[in-house]
Symmetry: C2
Subunit: 158 residues, 2 copies
């Protein structure tokens, strides 16, 4: 994917954290993703489709997921429960939604977010897609963003 297409996702993440959570997310290093190990323990995954297809992964450390959910829901979460998973899915949805609005040329829609947990889970992209990964440091701990975008592919009819 083109590097210029990552910027809408970065700014969407920063803006989402700032407006929804009053939390500053500071962008760290950008890397072409070499391995598929999820950066953290809880990963929100959402698909994009339209004139390009893509996947957005926002990976939260457990502590950031719990703090973010507590702030969004105005409760005090203490462990990864359904509310926290929903909050992670919703934040991932907002990041993807805000980014797609800035990528009008692709006229994309977002799918339903899913949230992956499990020790050492890995999210693999198709090998023809080279995802870009960016780490962020927040007041609550680390998160990471991974985006893979590709030209629209034809689905083989069966």
């Amino acid at each position: 994917m083109k590097a210029e297409h990552i910027n809408p996702f970065v700014s969407a993440l920063v803006t989402t954290f700032r407006t929804m959570l009053s939390c500053e997310a500071r962008r760290g290093s950008l890397a072409v993703k070499q391995d598929s190990r999820a950066a953290h323990e809880v990963s929100g995954v959402i698909g994009l489709s339209g004139n390009a297809v893509g996947t957005v992964v926002v990976s939260f450390s457990t502590e950031v997921a719990i703090k973010a959910a507590s702030t969004m829901l105005m409760t005090e979460a203490t462990r990864i429960d359904d509310d926290v998973l929903d909050a992670v899915g919703e934040l991932t949805n907002m990041v993807a939604g805000a980014a797609k609005a800035q990528l009008e040329e692709f006229n994309m829609m977002v799918s339903l977010p899913s949230v992956i947990t499990g020790s050492a889970h890995e999210v693999h992209f198709p090998s023809e897609v080279t995802p870009i990964g960016i780490s962020f440091d927040t007041d609550w701990g680390p998160i990471s963003l991974e985006v893979g975008l590709a030209p629209k592919r034809e689905v083989a009819g069966v």
Copy 2:
């Protein structure tokens, strides 16, 4: 989601396995998914969006993933490598693509497949969506299909 909307996914899976892999997949029990533990070790995940949004998860036992990839690629895979992951993603893509063609009223598009691995990984759906899970028995071992579909949701602008 409505039960009648699951049938296109079931027939898409059976047809995909039959035509792409010459492998019969026999439908087993259908259940409203209560937990989020992935049924097997390797899960293909793909998003759908349009007039409904959804997620399709096809979960493969390791042995089925390896056999399926070996058949598709006409090689002899022996472990979960990039080729096997790509084959799982592509089969998931075909199942979603064939099913959406039968669900014309939703005018959906598929996103990019991603493939999740990791011991005891879990794929969580948003709590407002009740996914339906169906187990299948194939000549090579078990697989399962999970589908969550929901009316189109508005993405909160940020």
